[in-house]
């Protein structure tokens, strides 16, 4: 009895610690007064101010543009790479996999400054393009590691059967392999989009000349002090990420159901 009570209160405390700050942050985005300690009636004025802010609008535009482009390009490059890696053996495969781990292992700040050095070294002006390149780079491993497991599950027989039946290798890929690995590709794309949408550190070092994303705007506002507009923006961003995650999760669970179905049939 005592043990179960202790466990329950500990669990409650931890979840309270995790959620209270986020919930308070969201609730105070609707607070009429600028003060953070007192509740002074419900308002949507911070949201209204947010939508009138041209700097936020431009940051939102760049955030979405970079997220869409970088995840699309990373998905194409990464899927092709995964198909190649799946057909590699021995040392080349090990090297390629380790190169793929590299961005995941190096700290964000080192990745940010090293890319900044590269862009300055090749005299590419820091701005939209450099931020896009940086995002493609850290998105690639997520795509590769989402697609690779799907490729491993494939059997070679279906592909060979397609060839026997007269399909060209390209047709066989398009009609046989691609439909089977597409769940992995879509998951990789959505993961990459989420990562790009949320990124601060790498963007912070690789952008310039008036181009910024939402995270950078939040950081520069927060550095100047507390502003309920930030609460409103963060609340909206959190809702968007949640919706994306719901889609990813739904797809993944649909996927794993399919796999168990196949296993049962076999």
């Amino acid at each position: 009895m005592v043990r179960s009570f202790l466990i329950k209160s500990y669990t409650f405390l931890i979840y309270f610690f995790l959620y209270a700050p986020i919930l308070i942050l969201m609730i105070f985005s609707f607070n009429n007064s600028k003060s953070r300690g007192n509740w002074d009636g419900f308002t949507l004025k911070w949201y209204a101010e947010l939508f009138q802010d041209s700097q936020i609008a431009s940051a939102l535009y760049y955030t979405l543009l970079v997220a869409v482009l970088s995840s699309l390009i990373a998905t194409i490059l990464g899927t092709l790479a995964a198909i190649g890696i799946n057909n590699m053996r021995g040392l080349p495969k090990m090297i390629t996999l380790n190169v793929t781990y590299l961005p995941l292992l190096s700290p964000d700040i080192v990745m940010g400054v090293s890319l900044m050095l590269l862009f300055i070294f090749i005299k590419l002006q820091l701005g939209f393009l450099t931020m896009l390149f940086a995002h493609i780079t850290f998105n690639l491993p997520f795509v590769v590691f989402s697609v690779l497991p799907k490729l491993r599950q494939l059997s070679n027989e279906t592909y060979d059967a397609a060839l026997d039946l007269g399909a060209t290798p390209f047709e066989a890929y398009k009609k046989v392999i691609l439909p089977q690995i597409s769940p992995g590709i879509v998951t990789g794309f959505l993961l990459a989009f989420t990562m790009s949408f949320d990124d601060f550190v790498v963007s912070f070092f690789t952008t310039g000349s008036g181009v910024s994303n939402l995270a950078i705007e939040i950081y520069s506002m927060a550095r100047r002090g507390i502003n309920p507009k930030i609460n409103a923006l963060l609340t909206l961003m959190f809702i968007c990420i949640m919706l994306l995650l719901l889609i990813v999760n739904y797809r993944m669970s649909k996927d794993s159901n399919k796999e168990t179905d196949v296993k049962i049939i076999k």
């Binding site: 890696i85 190096s106 080192v110 590269l118 780079t137 927060a222 959190f238 995650l245």
Partner: protein, 274 residues
């Protein structure tokens, strides 16, 4: 096989955008460019070991260690609860535990900024209750709190997944052989969960030691950790040589730590890589 060709654009991209940049960090940390041209120098690397910078490095390591310790102490029992067999609604609880991680970490840090403020909610509450106010914003305590809050899930999840895989029969065997719950924990459960503890420690320590956002927002404008020092060299003073040297040493230190940690981990499992 022609299919390998498909990897080449990717490899080319990764060489240009991850491997060459890392070599550039190495390059900039050992060269000096002035009116006499470019030449090798050990000046930047030596500067890292000057007392004022060593102090910053030690402070970053110390704060990261303290945060990692708190994450472990708070997180291990939580992982045990999540992994325990009699837990109902486990899936929901695990999802709820992971969810805050998907909120932008700037948001999670900013949330504490508003909570800890002199006239923020916590102090308003304490005042209404007639208790003394808490003034920890812009101190070490606030930075540690921010780190623990941000990185706690990174500690709990790896431990949780290892604990879930522990064979129940081992625990039953210990019980049959007369072990008390406490000695079962220290002699069976904890040693078996060490791989999870090791990855948890790495996953908390790494971002904690390199952060510059948490220290800037919760530590204030003059608060310096190694991350802030690097940021300053690149974005404020434009001293890339020293900034690169700091990044290089930081990266080397982290790789070394990870190597040693995963090595102790391998020893336990019997296999050994290096």
């Amino acid at each position: 096989m022609k299919k390998k060709l498909l990897t080449y654009p990717y490899l080319l991209w990764m060489i240009i955008f991850t491997i060459i940049p890392l070599f550039l960090v190495l390059y900039f940390s050992v060269v000096q460019t002035d009116q006499f041209g470019t030449r090798f120098t050990s000046e930047h690397l030596a500067r890292v070991f000057e007392p004022i910078y060593l102090k910053v490095i030690f402070r970053s390591i110390a704060l990261a260690l303290v945060s990692t310790f708190f994450c472990l102490v708070i997180g291990y029992p939580m992982a045990m609860i999540l992994a325990s067999r009699e837990l109902k609604k486990r899936d929901i609880l695990v999802i709820l535990f992971v969810l805050p991680m998907w909120m932008n970490f700037l948001a999670r840090t900013y949330a504490w900024m508003t909570l800890l403020e002199n006239n923020g909610i916590i102090n308003q509450l304490l005042l209404t209750l007639g208790l003394p106010t808490l003034n920890i914003l812009y101190t070490d305590k606030a930075v540690i709190l921010g780190m623990v809050y941000n990185f706690l899930p990174f500690m709990v999840l790896p431990i949780y997944s290892v604990l879930r895989k522990i064979d129940r029969s081992l625990l039953e065997a210990a019980e049959d052989l007369g072990a008390t719950p406490v000695s079962t924990f220290f002699k069976v459960i904890f040693p078996l969960s060490l791989p999870g503890v090791v990855s948890g420690i790495i996953m908390v320590f790494m971002p904690a030691v390199t952060t510059f956002v948490i220290s800037r927002l919760l530590g204030g404008g003059h608060y310096m950790l190694i991350g802030n020092l690097i940021e300053q060299q690149f974005l404020a003073t434009g001293n890339w040589g020293f900034g690169s040297a700091l990044s290089l040493i930081l990266m080397a230190f982290l790789l070394l730590t990870m190597g040693i940690m995963s090595r102790t981990d391998k020893d336990r499992e019997g296999g050994r890589l290096w």
